[in-house]
């Protein structure tokens, strides 16, 4: 998606928050890209974008669009970031207790397996 000049100017004037979990602004993202970041994982490492409780659900696509625009590539060619478990934030106390009660399904130890529900 291409933005109009007016829209770009307006965005640049605002202190636009891109990652709501970690309070990261569009300006910070653009500075990291200007310094040489070319992937979503690099933006994560430098800015913590996508590392908060929502794990990037809100900012991932916004960030991909910024990178795509800067690199002159389609958004589809931007490498997705690494997805990490758990799928939703879970209390330490709950994990420690649930493990006692829930019988393990088979021998599968991966978090994508049935026991992680």
């Amino acid at each position: 998606m291409k933005r109009s000049v007016e829209e770009k100017n307006w965005l640049e004037q605002q202190n636009v928050i891109v990652c709501r979990c970690e309070d990261v602004t569009l300006d910070e993202v653009r500075r990291a890209i200007a310094q040489g970041a070319t992937t979503l994982d690099e933006l994560k490492r430098l800015l913590r974008v996508g590392m908060g409780p929502c794990q990037g659900r809100t900012c991932r696509e916004l960030l991909a669009r910024e990178l795509a625009e800067h690199l002159g590539k389609p958004v589809g060619e931007i490498m997705p970031p690494t997805f990490r478990p758990p799928a939703k934030p879970v209390k330490l106390g709950l994990v420690s207790r649930l493990a006692e009660d829930v019988p393990r399904a088979g021998g599968d130890s991966s978090l994508e397996g049935g026991e992680s529900r």
């Binding site: 070319t38 490492r45 430098l46 590392m51 934030p89 209390k91 330490l92 106390g93 493990a99 978090l111």
Partner: protein
Amino acid sequence: MRSTADAVIIGGGVIGSSIAYHLAKEGMRNVVLLERYSFCTGSTGRCGAGVREQWGSERNCRLAQASINAFEHLAEELGYEGDIEFKQKGYLILAHTEKEWEQFKKNVALQNSLGIASKLLTPQEAKEIVPILNTDGMLGATYNKRDGHCNPFHTTWAYAQAARRLGVELQYFTEATGIRLEGGRVAAVNTTRGTISTPVVINAAGPWAKPVAQMVGVDLPVYTQRHQILATEPTGPIIDPMVMSFSIGIYCQQTPHGSVVMGMGDPNEPKGYDIGSSWEFLREMSRIILRLLPALESLKVVRQWSGLYTVTPDAHPILGGVPGIDGYYQAVGFSGHGFMLAPAVGRIISELVVGKTPFIDITGLDLGRFERGELQVEPSVV
């Protein structure tokens, strides 16, 4: 990419980036840093971010002490605009067995003799530092205020950007595929983007150090092993120091960001390159940490991941050149504590490359020690 360089570094983690900066600072600026992915993709970006002087061997103590000295003014030295999040609120290392308490007395005596101000604490004194600590079954603890935390991503980026400003070429997403020797000397490095003629190559490839060393016919006595780790959502200040236990095999620290990061070693973990995350780790980690720090019960885990230790038989790194291969240097086998040693190691390797005497004596950290059988195993590892 440059086709000729004075030195090529393989590895864009904190070790390679620190070496790149220090080489440039020594005046060697026609340097290329090769990294297969991007900065901090290997072990650096997966580590627990702790930095400590409290080690059980004189060599590790000296490397760590010099590195903490460097961390204290690193952001200024590197002209870094961001924040490397260096925090010195100590390491509190717990003793639960007689054996480790005896070892800790020796460690503290050694550390004190080297000018490291660590001390032995009673369980009550430990609880004053970490009020939420459950001291049941504890015999004591050691504490050193100068230890703490630093952000591995920002530290590595700061080194790399400072190196780049001094003339080093950073080649991310470029893999070293071979090293050409001519008459026992390094002649060139082949990469996925072409060949670089160079008289010097430095192996800083972390978990991939062994295959890189094989490119020059060196067999490193190291293996890789997964270590798992998790981070919670951020919360207000609740734990100042890193809390660590070697006998239980865990470490836990609240970062300046507010999240609590904790990890655990598993003696049954197979060797290899698996960097997946397991349910068993989440369960065991939560059980163990809630016994030590029950107040963390309602904190939410937001992310778990893992990384590789590259382990040597004595848990000390392998530093320096190899007789018979002129121009080949290595900084490998950090056994889980490379990040915190990177400032000193980067300087030492660069001094060796330019022909200076290293500022810290590295006798006994060469590859030859394994054949000579001169091993002193580091006891203080999770």
